[in-house]
Symmetry: C2
Subunit: 212 residues, 2 copies
């Protein structure tokens, strides 16, 4: 599957309220420079250690322009996150073959998405920020539960659906951290196809099997 990148989450503040095309183009360029500076700083120093003022300086704009575009540092973090997949497409793909194939399809999508994601990958950048700030934990929770697992489990409506959503999301997260950050021996070195199979059976169990 080729994951379709979604545009960054945005805060809905209009890009450039100017009447002229030139000013509008300038606004777009400033936004892009601000985002680039924010990504570099969050990845390099961490979210908590980066100030909005510093991002503005690195982007060559006034801090008030950053506030005008993104509202706050938290808004800027949300804007820098490019989901590495389009949630609606993923949900459709995972559900396409019916409830008995959810584990297998979700394992496919999960591994294919992260294997092609460069380092530092989206989830690890967010996890790092989440250690420092609750607003990043919220974004991370959205990535792993609200956007993907929740609509899938809800569609098959098993008993204890909510608990299953959290278990599946935790399992995917744990595998992600174990493989890409902490490098647990046998999963950091494993071929994606081996992992897919192991992941598929566990996820299927969590989605449709007896919980206890």
């Amino acid at each position: 599957m080729a994951a379709t990148k979604t545009p960054p989450l945005d805060t809905g503040v209009p890009g450039a309220p100017s009447p002229g095309a030139t000013r509008s183009r300038d606004g777009e360029a400033s936004r892009a420079r601000i985002l680039m500076a924010a990504r570099a700083a969050f990845d390099g120093k961490g979210y908590a250690q980066t100030s909005l003022r510093e991002i503005a300086r690195n982007a060559g704009v006034r801090p008030s322009l950053v506030v005008h575009f993104y509202g706050s540092k938290a808004g800027l973090l949300a804007a820098t996150v490019e989901w590495p997949f389009d949630p609606d497409t993923v949900v459709r793909q995972v559900l396409a073959m019916g409830p008995d194939h959810i584990g297998e399809r979700l394992a496919d999508v999960f591994l294919e998405t992260w294997e092609q994601d460069g380092r530092p990958n989206t989830a690890l950048t967010l996890l790092h920020a989440a250690c420092e700030r609750p607003e990043a934990a919220t974004l991370m929770r959205e990535l792993f539960t609200t956007c993907v697992v929740d609509p899938i489990v809800t569609a098959i409506a098993p008993e204890r659906a909510e608990l299953r959503v959290s278990l599946v999301a935790s399992h995917l997260l744990g595998l992600h951290v174990g493989r890409y950050l902490l490098e647990f021996h046998a999963i950091a070195g494993a071929d994606a196809d081996v992992l897919k199979q192991a992941l598929a059976s566990t996820i299927q169990h969590m989605c449709t099997g007896p919980l206890w």
Copy 2:
């Protein structure tokens, strides 16, 4: 189960090489102050943002004394980590009732240990440090795989033991992060007994069930 706290990992550098009891007591007091300053700094600012010099200053000692006691900043990190359980005891407890009860016993120990651990808990402090430095990732990996899961899975010797170790460790880690850091809805709010049951069946499956 009452988890027995192990003493902090230490680097083996002798506490105070002095011949006199007074100098020895002074050495112990300095070590304690250094560790307290290091913990406060690592928890507060993060591992990467803290310098050894700064820890020495906060502890009221010379940097050379920190180096004498702990070798390096990484050695100091290892020394600040108090494992919230004694690995040998945990392994014995989990194996006591035989292979068919491993999931249930490991779920018990895992949840009881973390429920009684204060915040910021050991695993989250290490995870935060692991986002910044590989040496912290190594400590975290030891906590989740080498110290606990590896001896348990090795004792029951299933096929693909190494992969099972990593899967179980990842699952425990994911649940930990989902419950205590990202607060995934249904597991952050769940009663420990409900979680234990859900965790037990998944871990049992990963330890002794068919992997695919």
